[in-house]
Subunit: 301 residues, 2 copies
Amino acid sequence: MSRIIECVPNFSEGQRQEIIDEIISSIISVEGVTLLDKEADPDHNRAVITFIGEPEKVKQAAFNAVEKASELIDMEKHKGEHPRMGATDVVPFIPISGTTMEDCAKLAHELGKEIGEKLGIPIFLYGEAASSEFPERKNLSVVRKGQYEGLKKVIETDPSRKPDYGPSKMHPRAGATAVGARMPLIAYNVNLNTTDLKIAKTIAKTIREKDGGFPFVKAMGFDIQDKGIVQVSMNLTNYLETSIYTVFNEIKRLCEEQNVEILESELIGLAPMDSLLETSIKYLKLKTFNVNQVLENHLMD
Amino acid sequence: MSRIIECVPNFSEGQRQEIIDEIISSIISVEGVTLLDKEADPDHNRAVITFIGEPEKVKQAAFNAVEKASELIDMEKHKGEHPRMGATDVVPFIPISGTTMEDCAKLAHELGKEIGEKLGIPIFLYGEAASSEFPERKNLSVVRKGQYEGLKKVIETDPSRKPDYGPSKMHPRAGATAVGARMPLIAYNVNLNTTDLKIAKTIAKTIREKDGGFPFVKAMGFDIQDKGIVQVSMNLTNYLETSIYTVFNEIKRLCEEQNVEILESELIGLAPMDSLLETSIKYLKLKTFNVNQVLENHLMD
């Protein structure tokens, strides 16, 4: 099975489609890279591109995109609602299959170094790629504090804002870029056969991390009025730590306590194969299962 | 996601490795075809090759292999324990993903016609590719009755043994070949935390088709003495009709009746992705799930 990494760079352009298209072209010009999604938000004036491939291919495609964005986007003229500090604002690498978080962090360091040296853009490592020198940079909002305009004022003088790679000086058009590593995000909802919103809200509160629930779980309760049901809507930000199977079983247990039935659940968008197979493996108590037993995986050799 | 078919041809040569290697070379010479497995049995004097790819590629690779086998294997000199009637004895096509049994049956007809016309080998369609004229040929043992030597005596005169394609006459060296379509076979075992072999045998009998259980399920009870457990060992010959999830749940129910615990289960060899994901989908009550939500499937475009 191939070694696969996902990359979801964000660019500070959400209005001029021809610029977004040029950036996408620079990505898919790398053979072996597959475009999964592209979303442009005019209000945020920001585009989010999702692609996957083998590590070296993905790194090359990311470099191409950062280079292209630095030619086409001028941060001196950029306005938008979403916080941002560069033409390419943020480049996360995400382990999908046959790769680890360490692989992604290493790739972030390599890409950061290359961008810094070849394009003269200051690079801040964030997320799981944050350096030991600046551990607070695990949190992207620390890196992006003050946004483009604020960072420009302090980057040359404040030692705590020194880039990990590249010059200690904003690129005159492209600003600065955060390069990092994180887990994939799984958007997963469970629908309950009741109109009692309080039950969904209580369950959401019980399972989410910020209220003492499972780590890496964000959850909210919603009313789906047109269907006469309520929903526990979740983001799982590290499925290796807290999985779909784990949150489903806990919600099932909490529902049984309240005599409420789970109507159905739904996966929004994409998820890695192992995050979905885990439920089968656990429920069937499958021993010594490995993903190479999935016949189709041999097509990706 | 790609359209994928599996092909598992059987050849009447299990001793001379150089001949088996030449046949394999003719298969993998087709770009886009992936070799999954090769097994040679000297006693049976028979080799089984497993490969996958897109339908047209798989058909081309199968034709190459049949042609090569007809050049290298002489049925007049073949001896072996396994029933056989040709240098290439049997060629089944199996739907894996994005393809149906109808696609496989159609491919079997196309390949059969091509072999008959270009190589002069009589072709019998079997399994789900059996023609309406000879429905009894769904059963391979009907097609292969009398084996090479017996078929040779009657093929020119017995209307019930008329080939579907090619001449009504054995190929002087390669004999005759069966080409067909069938579902993938899933080998799946459930281990019970007891030393009472009777329980495994009773459960096997309850769930298997021949004793009135689930369709397309073969099952036997075994003693795994070195582990102090017993095993229900199964072949699921059509997982769309009776799935892993279905047999597991029934075994679980029967075990609970006997106060016996399921220790673990095990998948032997490969299985299609959807046969494994089904348990997750059913257990989580996932609605509107489709395989394109598996991130890795986008790599196979």
